[in-house]
């Protein structure tokens, strides 16, 4: 009997497949279907503090726009009793999801003010989330801002949030850090129970006809997995935090690689958007089939087996592509002195 169980952020999971933030998370029915298809937990879409703020400002602006300006039209809209201007909608959603499914539910938060991070983290916990993922989505565009300052900002934030909640906290990070392993360690020391590697940023494209910058976020590909694998493998067992891979998990093989690199869970979105919710079940079956074929007994057995710590040639993780290319040519030099 295969043992697919894993733990993540202290949560016991029946398998390592966790659908992550996507439009699928916005409908309770879809989350129920994900559970039915075999998902072990769900990481909800993020509550964006900045978006709440922007929507509030926009609402305020446009309700004022043109008002108190003209005798016959003192305003242009009726007054509503109230607006879903805080996190109410998101929090209600968590509560509804918790009622609808048995699997753990991980809330996700993207804040932009210290007060906002703390307040909304508490509210997400109160709404019933089993864990919290901090989606730190920050584009360091300011030339005056040093890497040190940015790293400190992350660390302070994690420390503040961890202090203010009792549920486990994971931090979703981008890979743009000079000394990622060290930074991961410091994030863990700051109190993070898990690291989610890696965030994918919007990458603007250019429209050559209109000469406009077009923001775009395409679905991920399997080949994006490798960056994640590398870093999960590098920090597994060396940094005191659970690990989740997100970005590029598309197949059973991808899931297995994540596990072998050392991840506790493999998160996925794009493949489910592309192929539909039932694909999750098929993927799980393929994982099982592969494990059966290759006579693995449990996920625990393979977890971290290919990590930096456990592989025969850990240097393979450290060398840059350039080095590997040179190595490839070495035998030829040997043969033709």
């Amino acid at each position: 009997m295969l043992d697919l169980t894993t733990t993540y952020l202290g949560l016991a999971l029946k398998n390592p497949l966790v659908p992550s933030s996507s439009p699928l998370m916005q409908q309770v029915d879809d989350i129920k279907r994900l559970e039915d298809a075999g998902a072990a937990a769900v990481a909800l879409h993020s509550l964006f503090e900045e978006q709440i703020a922007r929507e509030s400002f926009a609402l305020d602006h446009y309700l004022n726009y043109g008002s108190e300006s003209f005798t016959e039209a003192i305003s242009y809209f009726p007054q509503m009793l109230g607006y879903n201007r805080g996190a109410e909608g998101y929090l209600e959603h968590i509560a509804k999801v918790k009622q609808a499914v048995q699997i753990p539910v991980i809330g996700s938060l993207n804040g932009f003010s210290t007060g906002g991070w703390i307040e909304y983290a508490r509210e997400i916990q109160q709404a019933g989330a089993d864990a919290l993922e901090l989606n730190v989505y920050y584009v360091a565009a300011d030339p005056a801002q040093t890497s040190q300052a940015i790293e400190q900002m992350y660390l302070d934030l994690v420390r503040e949030v961890v202090k203010s909640v009792t549920v486990p906290v994971a931090v979703k990070l981008p890979h743009f850090f000079t000394a990622f392993a060290n930074f991961a360690q410091r994030i863990a020391w700051a109190g993070a129970d898990g690291l989610v590697l890696f965030n994918r940023f919007y990458q603007p494209d250019f429209d050559l006809e209109s000469l406009e910058v077009v923001p775009s976020l395409t679905l991920s590909h399997s080949n994006e997995l490798r960056l994640r694998l590398q870093w999960v493998a590098m920090v597994y067992g060396r940094v005191e935090a659970d690990l989740a891979v997100t970005g590029g998990v598309h197949s059973a093989e991808d899931v297995l690689k994540c596990m072998m690199a050392g991840a506790n869970v493999a998160m996925m979105t794009s493949v489910l958007l592309e192929r539909g919710i039932p694909y999750l079940g098929a993927l799980l079956e393929s994982v099982k089939a592969w494990m059966n074929d290759h006579e693995y007994e449990s996920i625990a057995q393979m977890r971290g087996s290919m990590s930096y710590k456990n592989v025969a040639q850990p240097a393979a993780f450290e060398r840059a592509n350039y080095m590997r290319v040179l190595q490839a040519y070495e035998p030829r030099f040997d043969r033709n002195p």
Binding site: Y62, S69, G86
Partner: protein, 1191 residues
């Protein structure tokens, strides 16, 4: 019993009672009563209950006539029913009102009394409307103040049930309906005490019911109608006492005692004024002041005007009264006197018993259309009464130099209480001044024992409008229902106002003057106009400055300086202790903005906190140093009428214009907007001539016709200013000619639509286009000079342009320019385009609404004429009749042409057969043909005039005179019927349908904003499903009416649906085809609008999205194609490619539903998507059928 004190206006006060004691409410928006319906609708949407524990059913009708019909029906079936209206709305209710009264039905209509459209429309307050209803058999009960509006509303609802006589409860439009006052609020127990449930059940028992069948509404013959009409007399005889008894009943519980006629003043008064409405409050203030100084004067304030109780009137009138002045706020031309005057005279005559001498009675008019009525005028009337032969049929408050009716008065006479704080604030609509002041009144009303009053005055512009707020706070009840004329606090929220108009004339000696200044405290003095400096020095004003825009910008408030200026007011006015005031402001911010989100509250808090550190008192120098002064309201070159009349109105001195200055019949010159340089744009577009491709799109979309293009001979450049830009024209046909794109800097509103539509980008710096916004002040003078030169360049020869091309059409002179419409308006580009294509031969019938306001509200009009003196002939009749009004134009033209064609052949021997044939058979389809015909007509007129001169007395000379007077008809004319969706879909739909069916050659353009824009965003039948509007707070549940398809069903009407932002060429094509079609045409034009709730700079993108989502399919239906066995329906847009949500969720009207009721929003969006799909399928199917066999 302790009741709460509330700060509100009379509209809210009356609606509060009406909603509590009604079951059914049928409404329709009309200024200034709209707010009553809006409150009722909102409270029902919030599920607020009436005193019987059920939520009143509120329904919006298609017109006031419809509302009255629905009310009548609901009353006849036993509901407690009410409505709210004013002015023309009341006129439309009159037929039903006779029925309702004739059937002795208990109901109350609440009226914000307003002027009637006569020589001109006016939205402002007087009693013309209610006086026109005085014959209907309704009781007329008048409230003079906001408190009375609440109290008498309840008294009216209680009394009508007892009396079975319906009651018009009215108060003065604007002055009372919109005056914010601190009053005591009646509670539900008061209402239950006053309303007798037995009478409610009796009302129900009288209703129609199949369980107790009878008929009501018979037709009667000469034998019995008369007697039947007399049956009601006892009800009217009882009515006054019933109302007095109800007032007594109210007094017993609430403590405020009203009478049918309330007398104030000396018990032994010799001179008495009789007056009704808010003027009664003013008169009371003046009388109390004069009486305290020993004058034997008094005022009799009328509450119940109909039925007029002679008995109660005589009882209330002091027996000592020797001279009486009766003031009517209405005009009845040709009468023996205005109505109240006549009633008073009759009452006195009928009561004459010889025991005491008959008082001398004079009557006069005051306050028409909210003309100010002040204690000084009251004093003027009393002074007149002192004379041995006081003037009868007088006017007060104007200077009548024509009929010499006006009484003199001393404008400096003041009864203001020194203990009252009087503050005036000058602001911009957009800066939030009025909202802040409304908040301040509430703060003072709620937090202190002071009485508070606020009244707000707006100019008539929809963009860059100025607002003036008049606030009074004091320890005693405030009766001052007039504008503040001596203020101890004056605030100027916009620095540039200082050189635009005089404002410190209202400042008391030693008053505080708060100025929002971009200049530092030590630099501001030199920036003040000379007369402002002079007043500050002379009156020893205390000057405070703050750079409110800087504070607002730094605290995230953008252009809203409301919170900053409000904080300044409290900080320096001393109305409240400073710390207490700051706390109260913050509390009020939380109440006002809390539901919009905490970040909104926080940014307002930040603005409050940052204010005090930026507020400075300026040490006022003793010397006047400035070398500049107020700018003249219009340029020196303006025509005499503009100089003498228009300029005075622009300068805010219209009140001083004498009667003789004004046209007798409402006729005004066109082309006056160009003289009113409003300078409201902070930034204007600047042309990059090197990358411009001369496509004309910027000119095409400009809502204000402030950016224009010309192609001209290079020789015309002689004398051009140095900075005047020009390049070779990029037309094959215009080789060798020059091209210039020029902006009028002082007329531009800075909406940026032209920049948004510009398709060209700078290849090295893609943020730049061929038009780029730049600050206006540094380039104003230069561009003014360039604009002046540009304006003198010759206009394009109309024969040389291809009208179908945007590029070409935008070289034509617009004859609609510089309107006061909203910046970025989506309607006005269509009107401007129509004038470019057809303006010099167009008649325009304009429905009341936004387009009639920005088109015809004084002081100026954007409709103009060309150098030849030809241009659109424009008129506005009413809201409901515009299609018929325009058809009337057509009927005249058709008949006139027929007559002219009958006359012309009689002159063949005089003018030549060739000319006669040429005129009669002329094709007039192209500009060249039109020009030729103009030449022929000119020749004809010259020949006819020669005949008349040579042989003035021959019989045919008279016929020649006739022909000469109508010969212009031989040049083809075009009739345009213009209006919004409120007119076309709702109130005017019956007429529109009839005109469309008439087969006559009229062109109807519906400027479809999908909402009643002018009255503030009420739902129309054009409002789309899922959009929030007033009267549709839960999102409109039903789909938009497909007006186009209804018209298409006739088969004989040219119909087009256009959106200039989505396809400019299709828009032009549709206009040209519609005009060319010899029959009725209907164009439904997508018009983005401020009421949609998004930045109108993106209006064109939103139009594209509307089309791409399939929400607004573009098409043309041309019956001429059917005649050629072709399919008449041509779809001009492609199948939907954009999800509907990508279109709708750019607009607050949709998102606010998502944010307040997501489930409803989702449901309505899903239905909206079905609507789009179904409509597209229908159109596509129709467009694909073969015109010949219909398959």
């Amino acid at each position: 019993m302790s009741r709460s004190m509330v700060t509100l206006d009379a509209n809210e006060a009356a609606a509060y009672i009406a909603h509590h004691v009604s079951e059914v409410i049928a409404i329709y928006p009309i200024t200034p009563s709209s707010a009553m319906g809006e409150w009722a609708d909102q409270w029902s949407a919030e599920n607020k209950k009436n005193i019987w524990g059920t939520t009143p059913l509120v329904v919006e009708m298609q017109s006031e006539g419809g509302a009255a019909g629905a009310v009548h029906g609901a009353l006849q079936t036993g509901s407690l029913t009410t409505t709210f209206t004013a002015s023309q709305g009341l006129m439309l209710m009159l037929p039903n009102m006779y029925k309702i009264a004739g059937e002795l039905t208990a109901t109350v209509f609440h009226i914000a009394a307003r002027a009637l459209a006569a020589q001109a429309l006016s939205i402002f307050g007087d009693h013309q409307d209610v006086m026109a209803a005085r014959a209907t058999g309704w009781a007329l009960l008048c409230s003079n103040s906001v408190q009375e509006a609440m109290d008498l509303a309840l008294i009216a609802h209680a009394a009508t049930l007892k009396a079975r006589v319906p009651i018009l409860h009215f108060f003065d439009g604007f002055r009372t309906s919109s005056e914010v006052m601190k009053i005591e609020q009646l509670d539900e127990d008061d209402m239950r005490f006053m309303i007798d449930d037995e009478l409610v059940r009796a009302h129900r028992a009288r209703a129609l019911s199949p369980d107790n069948p009878f008929m009501r509404g018979a037709a009667q013959n000469p034998d019995v109608y008369f007697q039947a009409r007399e049956t009601v007399n006892p009800f009217y005889a009882r009515m006054p006492q019933i109302i007095q008894d109800t007032m007594n009943q109210f007094a017993a519980r609430v403590g405020r005692q009203y009478h049918l006629f309330d007398y104030v003043g000396a018990p032994d008064a010799e001179r008495v004024m009789v007056i009704m409405g808010s003027g009664g409050e003013v008169a009371q203030e003046a009388v109390e002041f004069m009486h305290a100084r020993g004058d034997k004067v008094g005022v009799l304030k009328v509450h119940l005007y109909r039925p007029f109780s002679v008995e109660h009137f005589m009882a209330a009138l002091p027996k000592t009264a020797q001279k009486i002045a009766v003031l009517d706020r209405t005009k009845e031309p040709g009468s023996a006197g205005e109505p109240l005057y006549q009633d008073v005279v009759t009452a006195l005559m009928e009561s004459a018993d010889g025991a005491r001498p008959m008082p001398r009675v004079i009557g006069g008019r005051y306050g028409l259309a909210s003309k100010e009525f002040t204690p000084a005028m009251v004093k003027g009337v009393f002074d007149e009464l002192k004379k041995p032969n006081p003037k009868n049929h007088f006017t007060i408050g104007i200077h009548d130099d024509v009929s010499h009716t006006s009484l003199p008065y001393d404008p400096h006479f003041s009864t203001e209480d020194p203990a009252t704080t009087r503050a005036i604030f000058y602001g911009l609509g957009a800066d939030g001044t009025v909202g802040a002041n409304k908040n301040s009144i509430k703060i003072i009303g709620d937090e202190t024992a002071l009485y508070a009053q606020g009244y707000f005055v707006y100019d008539s512009k929809k963009s860059g409008s100025t607002t003036t707020s008049h606030l009074r706070f004091g320890p005693k009840p405030i009766h001052s229902s007039y504008l503040i004329r001596s203020a101890n606090f004056v605030a100027c929220h916009q620095f540039n106002f200082l050189e635009r108009f005089e404002m410190l004339h209202v400042a008391d000696h030693g008053a505080i003057f708060l100025l929002n200044s971009p200049f530092a405290p030590d630099a501001v003095w030199e920036r003040l106009p000379r007369s402002v400096q002079q007043t500050i020095v002379e009156k020893q004003l205390k000057l405070y400055v703050i750079d409110a825009y800087k504070v607002a910008r730094e605290t995230g408030m953008g252009g809203r300086i409301n919170t900053v200026m409000q904080t300044c007011f409290f900080a320096i006015s001393g109305v409240l202790p400073r710390a207490e005031a700051i706390a109260a402001i913050k509390h009020s911010i939380e109440k006002t903005y809390g539901k919009r989100g905490k970040v909104v509250v926080e940014k307002n808090f930040a603005a409050v906190d940052a204010t005090l550190a930026n507020l400075y008192e300026v040490q006022v120098p003793t010397n006047v140093t400035s070398a500049f002064d107020l700018r003249p309201p219009v340029a020196a070159g303006a025509p005499a009428f503009v100089q003498n009349v228009t300029a005075e109105i622009i300068a805010g001195r219209g009140d001083a214009l004498p009667v003789s200055a004004l046209p007798v019949d409402g006729t005004y010159p066109s082309g006056t907007a160009k003289w009113e340089k409003r300078n409201i744009a902070l930034e204007i577009p600047v042309w990059d001539k090197d990358i411009c491709i001369q496509c004309g799109k910027c000119v095409f979309v400009c809502p204000h016709a402030t950016i224009r293009a010309k192609v001209y001979d290079p020789q015309c450049l002689d004398g051009a200013p140095e900075t005047f830009k020009h390049v070779p024209a990029r037309w094959k046909e215009f080789e060798g000619l020059r091209y210039t794109l020029q902006v009028s800097p002082e007329d531009c509103t800075g909406c940026t639509l032209c920049v948004e539509v510009c398709p060209v980008k700078n290849k090295s710096e893609t943020r730049l286009k061929a038009l780029n916004m730049m600050p206006q002040p540094p380039i104003r003078a230069r561009e003014n000079e360039n604009w002046a030169f540009f304006s003198r360049l010759p206009e394009m020869d109309r024969e040389k342009v291809n009208l179908h091309l945007v590029k070409d059409s935008q070289l034509l002179e617009p004859l609609f320019e510089f309107s006061g419409a909203c910046s970025g308006c989506g309607e006005t580009p269509y009107l401007r385009l129509i004038t470019q294509l057809f303006g010099e031969r167009a008649y325009v019938a304009n429905a009341t609404g936004c387009s009639s306001i920005y088109g015809g509200n004084l002081p100026t009009t954007p409709w103009t004429h060309n150098d030849a003196g030809r241009g659109p002939a424009w008129s506005n009749s009413l809201f409901e009749d515009n299609a018929e009004f325009g058809l009337g134009f057509r009927l005249t033209l058709d008949k006139r042409l027929e007559f002219a064609r009958e006359l012309l052949p009689q002159f063949a021997s005089v003018v030549g057969q060739e000319l006669v044939d040429g005129i009669l058979n002329a094709a007039q389809d192209t500009e060249a043909e039109l020009l030729k015909q103009r030449g022929r007509v000119q020749a004809l007129k010259e020949k006819l005039e020669a005949l008349i001169t040579q042989s003035p007395n021959v019989p045919i000379a008279e016929t020649a005179r006739h022909l000469c007077s109508i010969a212009d008809i031989f040049v083809k004319k075009t009739v345009w019927i213009v209006g919004g969706d409120g007119w076309a879909y709702d109130i005017g739909y019956g007429g529109l349908d009839h005109v469309l069916a008439s087969g006559r050659n009229v062109n109807i353009i519906v400027l479809d904003t999908e909402v009643y824009s002018n009255t503030g965003g009420q739902m129309s039948k054009s409002t789309p499903r899922g959009a929030v509007a007033k009267f549709a707070a839960g999102g409109k549940a039903t789909a938009k009416k497909d007006l186009a398809m209804l018209a298409i069903s006739y088969g004989s009407i040219y119909v087009a649906r256009v959106a200039m932002g989505a396809s400019d060429t299709q828009t032009i094509r549709a206009l040209l085809e519609a005009e060319a079609y010899d029959g009725p045409s209907l164009i439904i034009a997508y018009s983005h609008c401020i009421a949609h709730g998004y930045d109108m700079a993106h209006g064109l993108d939103q139009q594209k999205a509307a089309v791409a989502s399939g929400y607004w399919p573009l098409f043309r239906y041309d019956p001429r194609l059917a005649a050629q066995d072709k399919n008449p329906l041509q779809l001009d847009s492609k199948a939907p490619t954009l999800p509907l949500e990508k279109y709708v969720y750019n607009e607050t009207r949709y998102t606010m539903l998502k944010q307040s009721n997501e489930a409803a929003a989702e449901k309505l969006l899903a239905l909206g998507k079905k609507d789009v799909a179904a409509r597209w399928k229908l159109y596509e199917t129709l467009a694909q059928t073969n015109g010949k066999d219909g398959k």
